[in-house]
C-alpha cells in the first residue's frame, strides 16, 4: 500500500491494543529493533550448523534451506547448534490492579502493555536461541510455564500471556517461596508489574532472586494520568486489590497524590539500585518499541 500516512505513537499503540494477535504486534515492534538480551556469543540462527529439521509453522522463511527444498522437495530448516546457558524468565503480574486503563488511549491497560512487552522479550529470546519460561502471578496463585526453546515454546508462552486476566491479589510469600525452585542456573528475569506493593512478597522474591545472582530486570508501568494526577475529581475511587473503603480526589489532593506516588516509586527505584536490579519506569502511553529498547539498553549498559 503506497501511503504516506504515518500514525502517531498513540494511534499506533491504540491500534496494536485492538489486535488479539500477539505475534503481529511482536513482528511490528521488533521490526528494526536490535536483537540481544545479553552479550551472547551466538549470533543468530545457523552459526554452527548442527542438523536439519522439518519445517514447522512459525519458523522463519529465511531459515528454510531452499537448496534442500529443490533436492528433496520438502521444507527443511537449518538448526544451529546453539546452547545458550542463559534461561530467560518472564514474570507477569496479572493482579487486579494491572487492569488500570490508560485514560488517554482507548483500549490500552497496564496488563496489555506488560503482556506485549514480555511477548516481545520472549520473541527475542526465541530468536536468540535462549530457553525461556513464564511466570504469571494472578489471583493469589503462580502459574508456571517451564523454560524451553523453540517456536513451539513461543506459541505456548504467547498463549499463556494472552490468557492472563487481571484478577485477585499477588501471591503470598509462602506461595512464592514454594515456587522459587525454578531458578537454579543463572537466568535473566524480566518482571513487568505496576509495583504498587513494595515491599511485598513479590518484591522480596525478586530481591531474593537477585541475591541468588540472577539478573533481575524490572519494568514498572504507570499511566500518564497517574503521573499527572489528572483523574476526574469528585468521583469516588476504590482500590481493586485492597478493600479499604472509598477514596476521593479533589483538586487539592492532586499535589499530595503526586508527592506520595513519586515517593513510592522513588523508594522502589532506590531499593532496586541498592540491590543492583535494573529498573525501568515507563508509562503505558509511550511507544512500546521505545520502552522495550530503553529497557533492554538499560540492562545492556549494566552488563558492560
Amino acid at each position: 500500500m503506497q501511503s504516506n500516512f504515518k500514525p502517531s505513537a498513540a494511534t499506533m499503540t491504540a491500534m496494536m491494543a485492538q489486535t488479539k494477535d500477539l505475534e503481529l504486534v511482536i513482528r511490528h515492534v521488533l521490526a528494526g529493533l536490535g536483537h540481544g538480551l545479553h552479550a551472547g556469543r551466538e549470533r543468530g540462527a545457523g552459526v554452527e550448523f548442527s542438523e536439519y529439521r522439518a519445517y514447522a509453522p512459525g519458523d522463519e522463511w529465511r531459515r528454510v534451506d531452499w537448496k534442500l527444498l529443490a533436492r528433496a522437495d520438502r521444507y527443511f530448516v537449518r538448526e544451529a547448534e546453539r546452547d545458550s546457558h542463559v534461561a530467560t524468565w518472564l514474570w507477569l503480574d496479572a493482579s487486579a490492579s494491572m487492569a488500570e486503563p490508560s485514560r488517554e488511549i482507548n483500549g490500552v491497560d497496564k496488563l496489555w502493555f506488560a503482556r506485549t512487552v514480555l511477548a516481545c522479550v520472549a520473541a527475542i529470546a526465541q530468536r536468540q536461541g535462549d530457553a525461556f519460561g513464564l511466570v504469571v502471578c494472578s489471583g493469589g496463585k503462580v502459574e508456571f510455564t517451564q523454560a524451553s526453546r523453540g517456536p513451539r515454546q513461543l506459541q505456548r508462552v504467547l498463549a499463556q500471556l494472552a490468557k492472563a486476566k487481571p484478577e485477585g491479589v499477588l501471591p503470598s510469600a509462602e506461595v512464592l517461596k514454594a515456587n522459587l525452585h525454578f531458578a537454579r542456573s543463572p537466568s535473566l528475569i524480566f518482571a513487568a508489574s505496576d509495583f504498587l506493593d513494595w515491599p511485598s512478597p513479590l518484591s522480596e522474591a525478586l530481591l531474593r532472586l537477585r541475591s541468588l545472582r540472577h539478573d533481575v530486570r524490572l519494568l514498572t508501568l504507570r499511566t500518564q494520568a497517574e503521573v499527572d494526577a489528572s483523574f476526574r475529581a469528585g468521583a469516588a475511587y476504590r482500590d481493586p486489590e485492597l478493600s479499604d473503603g472509598l477514596h476521593r480526589l479533589t483538586n487539592a489532593d492532586r499535589d499530595s497524590y503526586r508527592q506520595q506516588s513519586r515517593a513510592h516509586f522513588d523508594a522502589v527505584a532506590t531499593s532496586c539500585r541498592q540491590n543492583n536490579i535494573v529498573h525501568y519506569e515507563a508509562r503505558i502511553e509511550q511507544p512500546l518499541g521505545g520502552v522495550l529498547r530503553s529497557w533492554l539498553q538499560l540492562a545492556g549498559a549494566r552488563a558492560k
Binding site: 487492569a99 488500570e100 505496576d194 468521583a235 479499604d244 472509598l246 477514596h247 476521593r248 480526589l249 499530595s256
Partner: protein, 348 residues
Amino acid sequence: MLSSYPFWWLALPVLLLPVWWHRQKRQRLKAEPLATARFLPSAAPEQLRVWQWRDRLLLLVRCLMLVVLIAWLAATIFPWRGDTVLLDAGADKTWAEQQIAAAGMGAAQRIELPPHGLQWLRPHERDWRPSARLLIVARADQVAMPARVPQFSHQVEVRAKLPTAAASALVPAGRHVVLAGAQEQGGPWRSLFAAFDRAGDGAIRYTLAAEPSAKTELIVWDSTAAPPAGWQAPHWWLTSATAFPELATASTLTINGLTLKYADSPRGRLWLTDAWPPRDADTARAIYEAWQQLNAAPAPAYPMPSQTLAAARSALPAITDAKPATWLALALLALFLLERILTHVRRN
C-alpha cells in the same frame, strides 16, 4: 358540562405516587476502580443519600397519563342507575306508597327529589341505564310545569298529589308596603294597592303599614321631607326628589309609556315618576304592568299534573357532551404508548 362526577378529581393525590417513585433516595455506592487509590486520601464512608429526580420525561408522561385518566373518568359517565323513584320528602307517606305500588315500582331504588326536579333530571339523565324508568312522586307544587314538554330519553312518570280543596285556597304571597307621607294623599295609594291586590288573580296580597319592618319591600314616600334615618327597603317610590340627592344622577327608563327615574342609594333603590299616585285606572294598570316587568320575582310556578312523559329521544345528549371523553381516551392511549416506549428505552 364536562363532568358530573367531580369527585374523581379527588383522586389527584395519586400523582404523588409516580413523583415518589421518581424521586427516590439514591445511595452513592458507585466507585471507580483505581489502582493507585492508595495514594488518595480516604473518603468517609459515603452515606450520601441524595434526593434525585430520575427520568423526568417519564415522570412527566406518567403524571400526565394519570391526570388524563382522572379527567377521562370524570368526563365519562357510566349509566348505573336502574328504575328509580324520585320521592318528595314532604309528600304524604301513605299516598306515596300507594302511588309507587300502583306504578309497579315497589322494588325500585328511591332517592329524594331534588328541588327543580325536572331541570335537575336533564343533566343527570346519563346516570340511568337506557332501560330504566323513572317515577316522580311529589306534591303538586314541588314539580313546576315546564313551558314545553320535557324531552327525556327515559320514561318519566310524574305522580303529583293535587292539593285538597281546603289547602287549595292558596295563601297568597304577601308583599309588605309602607305608605308614608301626606296622609291626604293616602287615598289614591290605597286604591292603587287595592287594585294591585286584585290584579293577577289575586296571587299577591299587598299589606300596608306605616312603619317599615324587616319584611318591607317597598316604601312609598309621598313627601318632600327627608325620611327617618333608619328606614330601609329594597325599593322606594318617591314623588319628589328634594330629600334624595342621589336622584341627581338618576338614570331614566321608559317602560310601558311611563318615564321612570331611578337611582341606587344606601336606603335602597329610589324610583321617581310623575305618574304616581295614579289618577285613573289606565295609569294604575300601566304602573302595575311596568312594576311586574321590573320586579324580578316570578309568578309562582304552575303545578304539574300527573302524567307520563314517554321516552322522546333515543340518543342521549351525553353523546355530544361526551366529546371531551373521546378525546381524553385517545390522549390516554397515546400517553400510555409513550410511557411504555419510554420505560422500555430506559430499561435498555
